[in-house]
Symmetry: C2
Subunit: 363 residues, 2 copies
């Protein structure tokens, strides 16, 4: 099958680029003695999780218990649910998974830890726990220092659980501005002092798991961190370019669309928020939803569910109804979640068709 045989819209993955991305990060992690635990929310495909493990990942990350179920199919021996698992049905699912692979959960409260302990103890399994630390994003996590020690100490007394260390996500650091450099220094101090405090109290962390895509290539400079959980690096996207963590040539995924309507000042493509998601470009003031590779000057500035509005600029190519264009998306993870299957290509040949098995796994 050739790319021209595909119906649109369709996510197309350049396998040569993807392979280079996978190898580059695996090599980086190995050379810096960092445990690599890719977040599979980007691809949601067990075959790609398997590939990451084969290349040296210590295990995989997921956000939800249903995603963990799907990722078991990758054959990974070790899964981190990087999300507080709260609710009876999720806990039942998790203890089943813990019979088949090592399972660790990151959480930030005893209200989450106690039911997890009861479920694990009742099921006769052991579940690892990382204490989630808020290093500035103010999403989940307790504060570094005393609060982290208190939660670690309390968790380590619970039956059925094994406290393994700390986790954090520095999603508030998106670039290398002066402000970001200060935030990075603050993060380093928090890690150094918290790990020292934990050690002084007999709770030496086996795992200090963190990192983000923008900070991927400076991971080795972050003190105490010994595990990284990048996700987007497998494909990269406009957000990754903007963060400085990849070049355009390292973007492996585009979305193929068809022009369905043309006027002198604009054209409409057959993909909108249902195809790309309505995620805006992170940190950009101008609102655009993707880059049309065949019309570099054009501005993809508006979407409805099935319509992408592209304004022609002076020098952008004039396209006709039926023409196909490749779009580099803002955020590939959320786009993957919208597609039943995606296509791996080498040149013009479609050599892989992958069902996005983790799509829509919300629970």
């Amino acid at each position: 099958m050739r790319i021209s045989d595909l119906d649109t819209p369709a996510i197309i993955i350049d396998l040569d680029r993807m392979d280079r991305n996978l190898t580059k990060v695996a090599d980086y992690a190995r050379s810096h003695n960092l445990r690599l635990r890719p977040h599979t929310k980007t691809h949601k495909i067990p075959a790609l999780g398997r590939r990451q493990v084969e290349l040296g990942a210590v295990g995989l990350s997921v956000a939800k218990s249903t995603e963990a179920e799907v990722m078991l199919k990758s054959g990974t021996p070790d899964i981190l649910v990087a999300y507080p698992v709260v609710g009876e049905k999720k806990l039942a699912r998790l203890t089943e998974i813990a019979r088949k692979a090592n399972v660790t959960v990151s959480l930030d409260s005893m209200e989450a830890a106690k039911p997890l302990s009861r479920a694990a103890w009742a099921a006769g399994v052991e579940i690892g726990v990382l204490t989630e630390m808020d290093v500035g994003l103010h999403r989940v996590g307790v504060q570094p220092g005393a609060d982290t020690l208190a939660l670690a100490r309390a968790v380590s007394t619970l039956p059925g659980l094994r406290w393994r260390g700390i986790a954090f996500y520095p999603g508030h650091i998106k670039d290398f501005s002066e402000k970001a450099k200060q935030d990075l220094a603050t993060l380093g101090q928090a890690l150094t002092s918290t790990v020292a405090l934990l050690k002084a109290n007999g709770l030496a962390p086996e795992v200090v798991s963190g990192g983000s895509t923008p900070l991927l290539w400076v991971s080795h400079t972050i003190p105490e961190m010994n595990e990284i959980r990048p996700g987007t690096y497998i494909f990269n996207d406009r957000n990754t370019i903007l963060s400085g963590a990849c070049s355009r040539d390292e973007c492996a995924a585009t979305i193929l669309t068809t022009v369905v309507s043309v006027a002198p000042w604009r054209f409409i493509i057959d993909g909108g928020s249902k195809t790309f998601s309505s995620d805006r470009l992170s940190g950009a003031s101008d609102v655009t939803f993707g880059e049309i590779l065949e019309a570099p000057g054009a501005r993809f500035h508006k979407m409805n569910e099935e319509h992408g509005f592209v304004e022609l600029a002076g020098d952008s190519a004039h396209l006709s109804v039926g023409d196909r264009v490749h779009v580099l998306p803002n955020h590939i993870c959320v786009a993957m979640n919208l597609h039943e299957q995606v296509y791996g290509v080498r040149g013009d040949e479609v050599v892989e068709t992958w069902v996005v098995e983790g799509r829509g796994k919300l629970q």
Copy 2:
């Protein structure tokens, strides 16, 4: 099964409210002699399409040929694909569907009409066509008047096609401000003059299909329009409230979520852009992603894929990890597209579990 047995996040539909919404619009259309052709992009569930047809809809609307395939299961005798169908695979799908139900396509170019004609003629089926008219949204459509006549005339000569009339979507009119009233008057003039022009040229339109949810209840005042295609009315959402087309008590769908982390100033729910979509509130300057029914003062102001960030206001309820809250979403159509199944409830009882069969049908 009770609501408390459901895993979160989950879309919950209050069936009493949904039934009232369905009946109210069916009655309105009947009393004004308007053909009702609900857009099924909101629910994406054949059983609900069947319900709409039973209540008097003349047929159903979809955006894509794969959605039409799904909606055939509703038993509807008549489907409008309200979107230019461009591409060989889509045309093949459409001619197959045309063997089982009447199919009409709205389109705005001969580049879309000619391949449709060839496909229909080759397959030995007849496909209806509505000429799409741009009445101000500048999405798809030719201009009213001479351009619409020219396209109608050209389409009506093509074998395999039957020109049936015109279609339009006044999505640029969102309220009843002075500006909007002027736009509505302009729309009326465009319809009156274009229909007169078509008739004068022997092309009396059988169908004048239009309308939008904000304009739903003034549909009978729009001249010449004889068919309406509302979608959101079955459930309604925050956007519908804001447009003035429904009350809070007419919102039938909420999203049940669990609190997974709490800090003195905020809580985090287990749903973000993967659960709600990242659609902002239409026309609102403040960025919020839903209303937490159990914490009316709180502000759901930020999302990541799996995290909803809710800022507590002075008087908002203090919630604990494990508590469940119902969220009224900004845009229910895009949220439905993210869920594998949804639940119909009466009181606390879950009485229906529907698979969202039209989810992710992009082609």
